[in-house]
Amino acid sequence: MRLLTHNMLSSNIKGVTNGFPLLIEVEKVVEKQVDFNEDFLRNMFPKIEWKALVEASRTMGYTELPENAESSMLDSDEFLRKFHHALIELHLEEGALVCPETGRKFPVNKGIPNMLLHEDEV
């Protein structure tokens, strides 16, 4: 699961008001090489919750992302590369996503998060 997806997922449990962002428990991180696409990064940038991305990438062991980011930084190739790496190339293979309000864990196996809710959580 890439951080791109993590940035979009939120906890869907009944009664939770703010289920975003999900905290990450890391057991195994994999880095995969993906082709760099500047257009995609520019398109996605306004939609990304930057703080959540920085937090998540730090948990995964990548500390290169700046604390704050503005759209003007998209002109810098170096920034784009770091953004690309954090967003698309870091994969959480094994671990868990944790709901920030209830602490409920969504396990991640083989890169697939299990977001199925139990009967009483719907």
Binding site: L9, F40, K110
Partner: protein, 291 residues
């Protein structure tokens, strides 16, 4: 003839390891799914500016439809309820991210982040109550509500469905509309039982020129329009035929059908040879309004 998969078992049980493997190794199914995905992507009407978009594949299964999205240069997140199907997708090393989840529980995505959503042969599963705690209406509401929220403004969702019957079709469309979507159903090859395919084309946002439902395909490959208004995405020309004809100035006056008229009609019927009750003082008498 074997019954529909939807009537045999819930999707996470029907699509077990064996079925998942069978499904994905059938060349016929692969071909059909590829065609459906291409068409769904076409109906999504994304701007063709070469910018990769973030799309959602609902009921992505073993990633057959997701591959079409990748081939067209997009990033995608796939959701499916069957672990077996997702395992096959992993084997095939699909590019999109996979999530094990139940669309009837809500998609659990942040508002306004998805550029478009497709679903191939999946949404009709919502109409079954597979567990006693399931109520299809609640699940449909949760699904469409969360889908509407996570789509960016103006984004579309194209859901290719196999509704079991008319009631299911109405149910699905009804909940989509209630969630705030505008749009309609596009039918390809409506006259062929084998090739007939239905796509629910939904737009997030108020109805506008761009959300006018596109035309379905016909046997000859020509476009046939099921609706009065047709929108041509390329030419920006929209012709809306006149649905409301001007009312006739003279309304037929019911008072004309008085006693005389009734007596005349009865005479006509008698001449024809029909059995007509005799004329009495009660014939054509004014009845109470709530008769």
């Amino acid at each position: 003839m074997t019954s529909r998969p939807e009537l045999q078992a819930p999707p996470e049980i029907f699509y077990n390891d064996d079925e998942a493997r069978k499904y994905t190794s059938s060349s016929r199914i692969i071909e059909i799914q590829a065609k459906l995905s291409e068409r769904a992507l076409e109906l999504l009407a994304l701007r063709s500016d070469g910018v990769p978009r973030l799309l959602l594949d609902i009921g992505c299964g073993s990633g057959l439809s997701g591959e079409t999205l990748t081939e067209n240069g997009h990033q995608w997140i796939g959701l499916d309820i069957s672990q077996s199907m997702l395992d096959v997708a992993l084997e095939r090393e699909v590019e999109g991210d996979l999530v094990l989840g139940d669309m009837g529980q809500g998609l659990g995505l942040r508002p306004g982040v998805i550029d478009g959503a497709i679903s191939i042969s999946a949404v009709q599963w919502l109409c079954n109550a597979d567990k006693s705690s399931h109520e299809p209406r609640i699940r449909l509401k949760a699904f469409f509500g969360s889908l509407y929220r996570c789509l960016a403004r103006g984004a579309r969702a194209v859901l290719q469905v196999y509704p079991g019957n008319l009631a299911q079709r109405e149910l699905i469309l009804g909940f989509a509309m209630r969630a705030g979507f505008s749009g309609g159903i596009v039918v390809d090859y409506p006259h062929s039982t084998k090739s007939r395919k239905e796509y629910l084309v939904l737009t997030c946002g108020p109805p506008s020129l761009s959300s006018a439902a596109p035309r379905g395909k016909d046997e000859d490959g020509d476009s046939c329009s099921d609706e009065d208004s047709s929108g041509d995405e390329d030419n920006q020309s929209v012709c809306i035929s006149d649905r409301h004809r001007p009312r006739k100035k003279q309304k037929l006056n019911k008072k004309m059908k008085g006693r005389e008229w009734v007596l005349r009609k009865k005479e006509q019927m008698r001449r024809k040879g029909n059995a007509v009750p005799a004329n009495t003082k009660y014939t054509a008498r004014k009845r109470k309004a709530r008769f």
